[in-house]
Amino acid sequence: MPPLPPLPSIGQLVFAGIALFTCASALGVVLARNLFHGALALVATLFGVAALYVMLEAEFLAVSQVLVYVGAIATLITFAIMLTRSMMYGKTSPLNRQWGKTGLFAVMIFLALYGFVGSIPWADSAAPVIADESMIARLGEQFVTNYVIAFEVLGLLLLVALVGAVMLARDND
């Protein structure tokens, strides 16, 4: 009789819960017939991902995730859903003609990734890090030293988005 696997620790149980929640909400996003429900599921997924970041001790990322994704992007998506009245109360199918083939393709991709991830002996545990304020400070420092080009280009991108998107979305009157 093979030895029983060790009991999962509290951290592993919490991770399993968060992972299940995230995956279930992600399924909700792509399967929901009502688009607003899809948006709510997206918010749940984003919270789940933020919780995963916390488990990975990247708390600043977790809070940025909530601030930008939930606070801003999800709100924008909801606005767009309401502005375009694309609710689809089950009158027409939310899927296009190729959904069967696509579903098969997605399942195959997942299985391939699963096999790939499972076949490589990844690290089971990581060295402990001290995720204190100085780490966030170092993150800030990296933005303006090592990655300053990317940082400024991102600023430019945001500027272009601000100008372009406003021009696109305005009422022409």
Binding site: G11, V14, V54, M55, E57, E59, F60, S64, L67, V68, G71, A72, I73, T75, L76, F79, A80, M82, L83, R85, A131, D132, E133, I136, A137, R138, L139, G140, E141, F143, V144, T145, V148, F151, E152, L154, G155, L156, L158, L159, A161, L162, V163, A165, V166, M167, A169, R170, D171, D173
Partner: protein, 118 residues
Amino acid sequence: MLSQYAFILIMAAIALVLPLAAIIMGHLLGPRRPDAVKNAVYESGVETIGDTWVQFRAQYYLIGLVFVVFDVEAIFLFPIAIAYKGLDMFAVFATIFFVLLLVIGLLYDWRKGALEWQ
């Protein structure tokens, strides 16, 4: 650090359960006599025609748009603000340049009237 978030998790659970319990209490204690008129949507006594859709203005979306960009800006500025004491002048100018880029965007939208509520 993770133990701090354990507190948040516990508190989140309690903060979700207590309001839920209060609402369930309300359901249990209150009377329950629904009828068609009571359950109708209240729109100042006018019969509701059609579904909820009103024509919304794209202005709401524009507000959200400008908000998104400034939110992202804030995300970058907070870690820089924490590291600020140790930064050299180059980094300071890079930060100010980043802020000014977005100010240009705001000014452009201002001139184009995207911030007006027409």
